[in-house]
């Protein structure tokens, strides 16, 4: 197949999977919340309420769309679009599997394995906040603006610790290429064994960057009505809510890739599977790992209360940042004394 055509097709498939997964994560989240709160959860639309995401989507699209009179029309529409765009952009560097061989042609399962994959990831994460900021400001509403300001300072603060925790990982793996990082974890231990502290910092930062509870301060309904999306209605609100699930899905995939071996699983070469069968099983295992992280995201949301804003800032700057720096230092020392440094 033509390489460009295949890349486009792969992009469509990856986006489709991300969007589909995000849709069913809304269902999963409600079911899980119901279990934790001893309720039934969505049960009317289809068996076990499985058609609920579709019903929600249809409802969102057909709701009346309102744009506030004194808002900035262009930016008001641009906000959710940009947020959705940045949420989807990260998925192209994630290796979803080792690749299939059909009729002697190799079909890779990663859209692009650029050699600055990790930097691309950080870059997209760092511009992700613009969607919220533009939307919140353009709404011309005090609560929206406060939510947008909170989102921006929160994301800036946690990006620092996130980037520093990744630097320690780059030191041990010696590459910025995500495909290479996954291949290195084949056969050996997963990176989390070498970088436990780095993983913990990255995990906490991922919660903050995706605006998930206990760090969902940009949209605290108890103080800011709806936060940055107070004025939004119809599918534009849907985009904001939906992009959060996509972000969660992608950051779960990133954590599984970087720290938990990606599509590799223990004893994968002793199973007697080869080629395509192994690749398919690997992809399924990768999805399983992602589901595990998504479950963690939801579990924490329905368990922990929200942080106060000063607590959030203190955690980011006074605990996570020094810890991340110490992690880099310790990693460097260990590498130096174990002779891994050239």
């Amino acid at each position: 197949m033509d390489p460009i055509l295949y890349t486009i097709l792969l992009c469509v498939i990856v986006f489709g999977i991300s969007l589909g997964a995000a849709a069913y994560m809304t269902w999963g989240e409600r079911k899980l919340a119901a279990v934790l709160q001893d309720r039934v959860g969505p049960s009317r639309a289809g068996p076990f309420g499985l058609l609920q995401p579709i019903a929600d989507g249809i409802k969102m699209i057909f709701k009346e769309e309102m744009i506030p009179t004194h808002s900035n029309r262009w930016l008001f529409v641009l906000g959710p679009c940009f947020f959705m765009l940045t949420a989807c952009m990260t998925s192209v560097v994630i290796p979803w599997g080792s690749g299939l061989t059909i009729n002697d042609t190799f079909y890779r399962m990663q859209v692009t394995d650029i050699n600055i994959g990790l930097l691309y990831l950080l870059g997209v994460v760092s511009i992700g906040v613009y969607g919220i900021m533009i939307g919140g400001w353009a709404s011309n509403n005090k609560y929206s603006l406060l939510g947008a300001l909170r989102a921006s300072s929160q994301m800036i603060s946690y990006e620092v610790a996130m980037g520093l925790s990744l630097i320690a990982l780059v030191m041990t793996t010696g590459t910025l290429q995500l495909g290479e990082i996954v291949r290195q974890q084949d056969g050996g231990f997963a990176n989390v064994v070498y970088q436990p502290l780095g993983f913990l910092i990255f995990l906490i930062c991922a919660f903050a960057e995706t605006n998930r509870a206990p760090f969902d301060l940009p949209e605290t309904e108890s103080e800011l009505v709806g936060g940055f999306h107070t004025e939004y209605s119809s599918m534009k609100l849907g985009f904001f809510l939906f992009a959060e699930y996509i972000n969660m899905f992608i950051s779960s995939a990133v954590m599984a890739t970087l720290y938990f071996g990606g599509y590799n699983f223990p004893f994968q070469h002793e199973l007697g599977l080869e080629g395509n069968a192994l690749a398919i099983v690997q992809s399924l295992v990768f999805m399983l790992k992602i589901s595990g992280f998504i479950f963690l995201f939801m579990w924490i949301r329905w368990t922990l209360p929200r942080f106060r804003y000063d607590q959030l800032m203190n955690l980011g700057w006074k605990i996570l940042l020094p810890l991340a720096l110490a992690n880099i230092f310790i990693t460097g020392l260990v590498m130096f004394f174990s002779g891994k440094l050239g």
Binding site: L119, G123, S126, I127, I156
Partner: protein
């Protein structure tokens, strides 16, 4: 071919958004156009195969500094651009300074060589090559720059702490 079209598109975008930065009445629009300018310049870096520079440009400028800019502009709520009250002297001096800057630019562009610089490998901008160059050939300037940044950081913290305690 595609590279050339991309170059023209990015150049047009960069110049257009740079003009829009100074011509916008609304400060928030100015900041957003500045972000667009940074993106188009990062695109130019990509065309020059300087991937690391492009990525860091996006992370640092578009992702961190401009977020802070936007934060400050939004927080101060500079919705309407207030009528500028500049004295005739300031205008005169400003025009003079800009004129001198333009002279320098014209001189530089006139002296600039056409075509690609010879002897520079195609992949000079990748992470590996950049790292080797920085840490082997320019180690001392690099470390000095780091110390300078550290000093700036300590100074900023000191200035912001002074009024509280």
């Amino acid at each position: 071919m595609l590279t050339e079209y991309t170059f023209w598109f990015l150049s047009f975008l960069a110049v257009f958004s740079a003009f829009a930065v100074i011509l916008s009445r609304n400060p928030v629009h100015s900041v957003l156009y500045l972000i667009l300018t940074f993106f188009s310049i990062a695109g130019h870096y990509f065309l020059l195969n300087a991937q690391f520079l492009a990525a860091v440009h996006i992370i640092v400028y578009a992702g961190a500094i401009m977020v802070l800019f936007l934060y400050v502009v939004m927080m101060l709520n500079l919705n309407q651009a207030e009528p500028q009250r500049t004295s005739a002297w300031a205008k005169f001096l400003g025009a003079g300074a800009a004129g001198i800057l333009m002279l320098v630019m014209i001189a530089v562009i006139r002296k600039a060589e056409q075509g690609t610089p010879a002897g520079l490998p195609v992949n000079a901008g990748t992470v590996e090559n950049l790292g080797i160059t920085l840490y082997r050939d320019f180690l001392l300037p690099f470390e000095l720059a780091s110390v300078l940044f550290l000093g700036a950081m300590v100074g900023a913290v000191y200035l912001s702490k002074k009024e509280i305690t």
